[in-house]
């Protein structure tokens, strides 16, 4: 099957200015997302996952800035297109479910009205049609119809998250980016949300990028996975390749640290995540890597395609 890229990110950097210098939160990230796939972006907290998403969507606010990089979405240069056009693309073609999105609902407006407003605003529908779509979408995400007439505080976190997803997909965007969509939700609700994201791909033929620290969640829904460490992507592959045969020592650590029922021992990765203010020299993982050699301290390993669509940035595979 020929895979057609829907999103191409090239050497994207997102820095934050501070009196101590620049925080290089995202520091040269390149990857592609293909049409009709679920792509996962995984990594520990502080690795730059959320900042990467903000960079892709051009949502970086000062003191943040984008020193270099290119983001091409369906042929459109997102970082350079006029603001007005970008506004049209967001929601209608490119939907974003930010981290903690369920807390972004307006507490004094009923669910249906908020959904209808968003749909009219970005989709150019009349009110009747928008209402119809809103109710249909609530049904799609498994919420009872009464929810439409309720205020956000009457709903649980998981229900609010489903309202957000229902709104995000109402205009049938081609790409949905969800940042930590299951964090802070109960396990049964998490499963529902993960299944819902998978459904976006299978039933609506959307592309989904899911950003999460939860490796088990990725294992359940992703087609491909990109592993992020210290502002960079260190490994990319199909979900089965990466889980069965992780290449980068960091990925290996991350996978062996996943707790699983019945598993005897959960091993953490020794050492601490470095600071974006002062990334380690050479390979950024070298201070925590048991395979580190002198080369790793001095030279930053480039991203290599070790087999088709299988990338790793590590001198062990040089």
């Amino acid at each position: 099957m020929l895979m057609e890229p829907i999103l191409e990110v090239d050497n994207l950097r997102v820095y934050y200015r501070s009196v101590w210098g620049d925080y290089k939160s995202v520091d040269g990230v390149s990857f592609k997302a293909y049409r009709n796939e679920v792509l996962s972006i995984a990594g520990e907290s502080g690795c730059g996952k959320s900042t990467l998403v903000e960079g892709i969507l051009r949502l970086v606010k000062p003191p943040g800035y984008i020193p270099t990089g290119k983001v091409i979405f369906e042929g459109i240069d997102i970082l350079r297109v006029p603001e007005e056009e970008l506004r049209r693309i967001r929601w209608s073609k490119l939907a974003y479910v930010p981290q903690g999105a369920m807390n972004s609902l307006n507490p004094v407006i009923k669910v249906e009205e908020q959904m209808v407003d968003a749909i009219i605003d970005h989709g150019g529908m009349d009110k009747e049609k928008a209402k119809e779509v809103a109710l249909l979408m609530l049904k799609e995400v498994g919420l009872p119809i009464e929810v439409a007439d309720m205020y956000p505080h009457q709903l649980s976190g998981g229900m609010k998250q489903r309202v957000i997803i229902a709104t995000a997909i109402a205009l049938k965007p081609s790409l949905v980016i969800a940042d930590e969509p299951t964090t802070a939700l109960d396990v049964v609700v998490q499963r529902g949300i993960l299944q819902l994201l998978r459904m976006l791909k299978e039933n609506y033929r959307m592309t989904v990028i899911m950003v999460s620290h939860d490796m088990a969640a990725h294992a359940q829904v992703a087609d491909r996975i990109a592993i992020m460490y210290a502002g960079k992507i260190v490994e990319v592959g199909s979900i089965s390749q990466v889980f069965e045969d992780p290449l980068h020592p960091y990925t290996k650590g991350l996978i062996s640290a996943i707790p699983a029922i019945g598993k005897k021992y959960v091993k953490g990765i020794p050492g601490l995540a470095p600071s974006p203010l002062n990334w380690p020299s050479g390979c950024r993982f070298h201070p925590r890597c048991q395979h580190a050699i002198e080369l790793c301290v001095k030279v930053e390993p480039p991203m290599r395609e070790v087999e088709r669509e299988r990338f790793v940035a590590c001198h062990l595979y040089g």
Partner: protein, 330 residues
């Protein structure tokens, strides 16, 4: 059977909510509804598992004497917790210690981290002089795997999250209580550091005989840590049993749903069936007046489940279930 370390007998806690105009619009929520369970006197870890709003934090607060039960009794070594606290608070906290969710909140940013431990030693009179106190601190830190020379004399912000939480464990090790009440202790710790934390709880049990009531929403860590598991659903216990039974052969429909919802970290073992999205949550925020608490979401719901509250009963010596599927009333 010898005297249990901790015993909850029919403990309920109600909260009044709402109000606004007039007393009559007030509603009473049963956050905890007739909960009974006990922990043995031998070193033991019980995991109390529940989703958000299941009443697990309320139970923790009641055991720690921070909140009185509306009805029922909480006994620690055979004596009511309220009595312990009234008579000799320090004696109770010498034996029962909390570990909080947020490792940052116990530090005062203006004091060096040493102070947390020094105050503990002073309060519980663990040492007779400064030298002895210092030695105790250093010994405890080394046991936790922290380097005293690196950490002592520093300020809280100079420590990483993991170091701060392990510093908390040092405090526990100084006090050596008999029971730790740990309410979601690892939810703020990075995944890679969680294992280290859990292993310390295990070694506390094995090396120092410290029991733990591990309160969490997370069955993964419970399965790693606990001897037995208690499942809480909307304020009521629905299942209780040895770890392996609850994890491998859950009986209550709610426990079954919980366990089957845990994502397996293996792309080859994906969920094959689709969960019914309309059953993952219920709009009913408040406790049902009668009938089973899980009836609104239960795929096996029967008429009886709506009218009669199922009682928690033994179905084997170690396993208790509250579900009409397993109890045929005569």
């Amino acid at each position: 059977m010898d005297q249990p370390l901790l015993e909850l007998r029919n403990v309920s806690r109600e909260f009044k909510v709402g109000g606004g105009l007039g007393l009559f619009s007030r509603r009473i929520i049963k956050a905890v509804d007739a909960v009974s369970f006990s922990m043995p006197s031998k070193p033991w870890i019980t995991a109390l598992i529940g989703e958000s709003g299941s009443g697990k934090t309320t139970i923790a607060r009641m055991i720690l004497g921070l909140l009185p039960p509306t009805s029922g009794e909480i006994l620690y070594r055979g004596r009511k917790v309220s009595e312990w606290i009234k008579k000799n608070k320090m004696e109770y906290y010498r034996e029962v210690q909390p570990i909080f969710q947020d490792p940052y909140s116990i530090y005062n940013p203006f004091y060096r981290v040493d102070r947390v431990l020094e105050v503990t030693i002073k309060k519980f009179k663990l040492a007779s002089n400064r030298k002895e106190a210092r030695d105790l601190i250093i010994k405890a830190m080394e046991d936790i795997g922290l380097r005293p020379e690196d950490l002592l004399g520093r300020y809280p912000h100079q420590l990483s999250g993991g170091e701060r939480q392990r510093f908390m464990l040092t405090r526990i090790l100084l006090i050596k209580p008999r029971l730790i009440v740990a309410d979601e202790p690892i939810s703020m710790i990075d995944v890679s550091l969680r294992a280290i934390f859990l292993d310390h709880l295990l070694s506390f049990k094995e090396k120092h005989g410290i029991s733990c009531l591990y309160i969490s929403h997370d069955l993964h860590t419970a399965s790693y840590l606990a001897d037995n598991i208690v499942i809480l659903c909307y304020g009521r216990i629905v299942e209780e049993g040895p770890k392996n039974q609850v994890i491998e052969d859950p009986l209550h429909p709610y426990t079954k749903l919980l366990i089957s919802s845990i994502p397996v970290p293996d792309p080859k073992r994906r969920w094959t069936d689709k969960i019914d999205l309309t059953l993952i949550e219920s709009l009913k925020k408040f406790r049902v007046e009668k009938g089973c608490v899980f009836s609104a979401r239960c795929p096996y719901v029967m008429e009886k489940c709506l009218s009669q509250t199922p009682q928690l009963k033994n179905i084997s010596p170690e396993t208790k279930i509250a579900c009409h599927l397993y109890h045929s009333e005569k």
